[in-house]
């Protein structure tokens, strides 16, 4: 393959040479064809030692290696792009590819369409998928209600998107690093984050790992490799790229996954992240949950192109669109993307099509901008939980009795965690002042003392008894 204007020497891992854009592409550059999928990427020859990879010294000549310029050739010589000349004026139509198709494994009734795509997971694994999705759903319903009753300040549900969380989380290794946006609680739940800690964060009580500093649903867990969520959208995207670069240098076979919605994909940070990940050859998966709405803004007001997946090829990135409500499709795509991302040190873009059944948050009433009929369609006729249940019942893995007793049990465990969290005190107000820097500074220390003196003097005006001392 001609390597025009790019570095031809291989990296430390045995990775196939990458094409310069425009050279020898297929007609639909964004599609992963079945031949691509079957092509074995060379198994990584990475050494297993914990040292950092020292790549070879590059001479300045090799760095600027390119074909010698030859103006007698009727081929473009531009450093910026190769491809052929064309002598008639024609604008490329967007969507001339007629939209990137949606990969799925099951139909809406949970039947496997193409048996060779069935990941054939064990009954235990599939039951676990189902239980995690339904437990998340139960927790969502109880915490949403608790906000309505004034017990917690705010909540965001995950209704309809449980398949995107569980399918992708299951396809990762436990030490892969997760950067999320805010609607990925199922990933954390799949990894084993206990109900008590979900509740602790929402209640901002003294058990919260985040020390009560953030609004509900801003979860994080160092043990489970889930980077703490922040409210600004898409900021995690370039961060995920940097983390992936660092993990690549560490050479310990870890990947990064970065979740975001189709709305956040409009942010400049998303463009930055996509471009950096491709140019810097980072082992990560961009996972876009396209759920149809960014608060009240529907997708036709968010973008005019063919969704998010169609942007991938523009950055030189392998991309796929999947049925996000099909947990097996999500699982298959993520699993393959992860394998290749690490083996080949390149980013993958997965656009999981789904639907946000719930409101954006407890501060939103979506009946203001969409019809009840639309919501009901997704809730009743194309839901990741019911599709998986049909798959299970078709194999006699799950009965009505199982369903009834599981629902009852999961509700009970959620309620118990909820009641425990309610009773717990809030963290010591001293924690208002720590962790601004690694160390306490003299100025903050003075402010802290000043606050406590003030509280002492005016204590009847402050809710001191709700907090640990």
């Amino acid at each position: 393959m001609k390597m025009v204007g790019s570095e031809a020497e291989s990296t430390g891992s045995a990775r196939p040479a990458r094409c310069a854009p425009g050279a020898e592409d297929t007609i639909s550059p964004g599609l992963i064809t079945s031949s691509d999928r079957k092509k074995k990427s060379t198994a990584s020859q990475l050494p297993q030692r914990r040292q950092l990879q020292h790549w070879h010294h590059v001479s300045s000549q090799a760095a600027h290696q390119q074909q010698p310029f030859d103006s007698s050739l009727e081929k473009p010589q531009f450093p910026g792009a190769s491809a052929e000349f064309v002598d008639h004026l024609e604008f490329i139509q967007p969507n001339v590819i007629s939209g990137i198709p949606v990969y799925r494994v099951m139909d809406r009734q949970g039947n496997i369409i193409n048996a060779s795509e069935d990941p054939q997971l064990s009954k235990e694994t599939v039951l676990n998928f189902y239980q995690k999705m339904t437990l998340l759903n139960t927790m969502d319903r109880i915490l949403y209600e608790s906000q309505r009753q004034g017990r917690i300040s705010f909540y965001m549900t995950n209704y309809g998107e449980e398949g995107t969380h569980i399918g992708s989380a299951a396809a990762l290794e436990s030490n892969d690093l997760v950067f999320g946006q805010y609607r990925e609680a199922g990933v954390l739940m799949y990894r084993g984050f206990p109900l008590d800690l979900f509740m602790a964060q929402c209640y901002a009580n003294a058990d919260d790992l985040g020390k009560g500093r953030q609004m509900p649903v801003h979860y994080g867990s160092k043990d489970l490799n889930f980077v703490t969520i922040s409210s600004p959208l898409a900021t995690q995207i370039p961060q995920a790229v940097g983390a992936a670069y660092a993990l690549k240098r560490e050479n310990m076979n870890r990947a990064v996954i970065c979740y975001f919605g189709e709305g956040a994909a409009s942010e400049g940070d998303a463009h930055a992240g996509f471009n950096f990940s491709a140019t810097l050859e980072c082992p990560l998966i961009f996972f876009c949950r396209n759920n149809g709405y960014a608060i009240s803004t529907p997708t036709n007001e968010q973008y005019r192109g063919d969704g998010i997946a169609a942007r991938g090829p523009g950055y030189g990135m392998l991309s796929i669109r999947v049925d996000g409500n099909d947990v097996f499709a999500v699982y298959n795509a993520t699993k393959e993307a992860r394998r290749r991302a690490v083996a080949e040190n390149q980013p993958f873009l997965i656009e999981a099509m789904t639907y946000r059944i719930g409101h954006h948050s407890t501060s939103d009433d979506s009946s203001a901008y969409r019809s009840v009929d639309e919501v009901n369609y997704w809730d009743k006729q194309d839901h990741p939980i019911s599709r998986l249940r049909h798959y299970m019942t078709a194999r006699d893995w799950w009965s009505e009795d199982d369903e009834r007793s599981w629902r009852k049990q999961s509700r009970k465990t959620v309620m118990e965690a909820f009641e425990r969290a309610e009773r717990r005190l809030k963290p010591n107000p001293e924690l208002l002042f720590t962790d601004v820097y690694e160390e306490m500074t003299p100025s903050l220390d003075k402010q802290r003392e000043s606050m406590f003196r003030h509280i002492q003097q005016y204590k009847e005006h402050y809710p001191v008894d709700l907090y640990e001392k």
Partner: protein, 390 residues
């Protein structure tokens, strides 16, 4: 960012050197045939000398053998030491691979490899976001922003993300391994977008540190401290000093503490506070005040803007009773306002005169009007006179 050239004629008061002068110069002078009435050296075309004289630090042996280095070389030296001792360290930004537009990273890519010193696409929010993520994942991330004037696309990542990473996660995660470097301050002809001093925007942001050195010796030690510090740091490098400032700088690693102001010369009548290039202006002002007014000035280099050393400044003002703070950035909301406010709280009864701020005007940084804009030694001198006669 300015698609227009970010090309820089190096050096504040270097004479215009034409590349390839020699056999081409006759061709060039043929291009520029002046009419008889036009003198080759118009009064309006004369360059002004720089507004300061760089005053080098005395040679020190406390950190081991030294070598003559200018400011950009001292930066390179710090980065070299870092890449040698810390295998996780990486340096990235626009154009750093070939050595950087100010030559701060010359030789490092060849020495340490293309995976450790590399170009990024032209995107400041990406550079800083990437740096945060690399730091979170355990790498020592050193990001370069080509000019501090272009740091603003990264403002969200710095203020909403980097600064708050540790706090918001309850110390589960942090990006303390991140250092962001950027050329800073006036350069004689930089105009709006190659002269800014944006420290005040960031001073309002708890969780980051901001450090500004006055010369090569300080720069290397402070940069190494920033890199070692477990908090995200902004390190602004006075670009006018990159070539003009030459000192004997230790070859090995050493650190200079952060959040400690330095009293450069003691005095009894007025405290003068600044940072970066302006320190050299104030040193000259102190001499002028002594010679012409018999006024003894105490000169303090703040060095770390955030968190800043209130104790040293206040202790000095308690002694002298008068304070002058000077910076190039516009006066309204500039960092002098913060110092002034704190000092009047802590030292009110000690003050003999209102605190003086000699700063840039509340305008964008102008091109041709730079000599009138900058807080030069005459403006500082005049302010001291007013304070003494208050």
């Amino acid at each position: 960012m300015a698609a227009a050239a970010r090309v820089f004629i190096r050096g504040a008061h270097a004479t215009l050197s034409v590349p390839g002068a020699g056999k081409q110069s006759s061709a060039r002078s043929a291009l520029l045939k002046l009419s008889p009435g036009c003198s080759s050296r118009l009064k309006t075309q004369q360059r002004h000398a720089a507004h300061f004289t760089f005053q080098p630090e005395p040679v020190t042996t406390q950190y081991g053998p030294t070598q003559k280095m200018n400011l950009f070389q001292s930066i390179t030296s710090a980065l070299d030491n870092t890449l040698a001792s810390d295998p996780t360290a990486v340096i990235f930004g626009e154009d750093v691979a070939f050595g950087g537009v100010f030559r701060c990273t010359v030789g490092l890519r060849d020495k340490y490899g293309k995976d450790r010193v590399f170009n990024t696409p032209l995107c400041e929010q990406g550079i800083v976001g990437f740096g945060i993520g690399a730091a979170v994942a355990g790498a020592t991330a050193i990001a370069e922003i080509q000019f501090a004037d272009y740091i603003f696309p990264a403002f969200d990542q710095i203020v909403n993300e980097a600064a708050k990473y540790r706090y918001r996660s309850g110390n589960l995660f942090d990006c303390g391994n991140l250092t962001i470097r950027a050329p800073w301050g006036c350069v004689g002809h930089g105009s709006l977008y190659h002269s800014q001093s944006p420290e005040a925007f960031f001073a309002h942001c708890p969780g980051i540190k901001i450090v500004i050195p006055r010369g090569p010796l300080e720069a290397k030690g402070l940069l190494l401290s920033c890199i070692a510090d477990n908090n995200p740091c902004l390190f602004f490098e006075p670009k006018i000093l990159y070539r003009a400032a030459v000192e004997q700088v230790p070859v090995d690693s050493y650190t200079i503490p952060l959040s400690q102001a330095e009293v450069l010369q003691e005095g009894s009548d007025v405290t003068l506070v600044a940072w970066g290039t302006q320190i050299h202006v104030l040193k000259e002002v102190a001499n002028m005040a002594q010679e012409k007014l018999g006024v003894s000035c105490e000169v303090i280099d703040l060095r770390t803007i955030l968190p800043w050393d209130t104790e040293t400044i206040c202790k000095s003002v308690v002694k002298t009773g008068r304070l002058l703070i000077s910076h190039e950035a516009p006066v309204t909301g500039g960092f002098a306002a913060e110092i002034s406010s704190t000092v009047q709280e802590e030292c009110f009864l000690n003050l003999e005169a209102p605190i003086a701020r000699v700063c840039g005007y509340d305008t964008p940084f102008p091109h041709i009007f730079e000599p009138f804009y900058i807080p030069d030694k005459w403006k500082c001198f005049e302010a001291i006179k007013r304070m003494i006669n208050y």
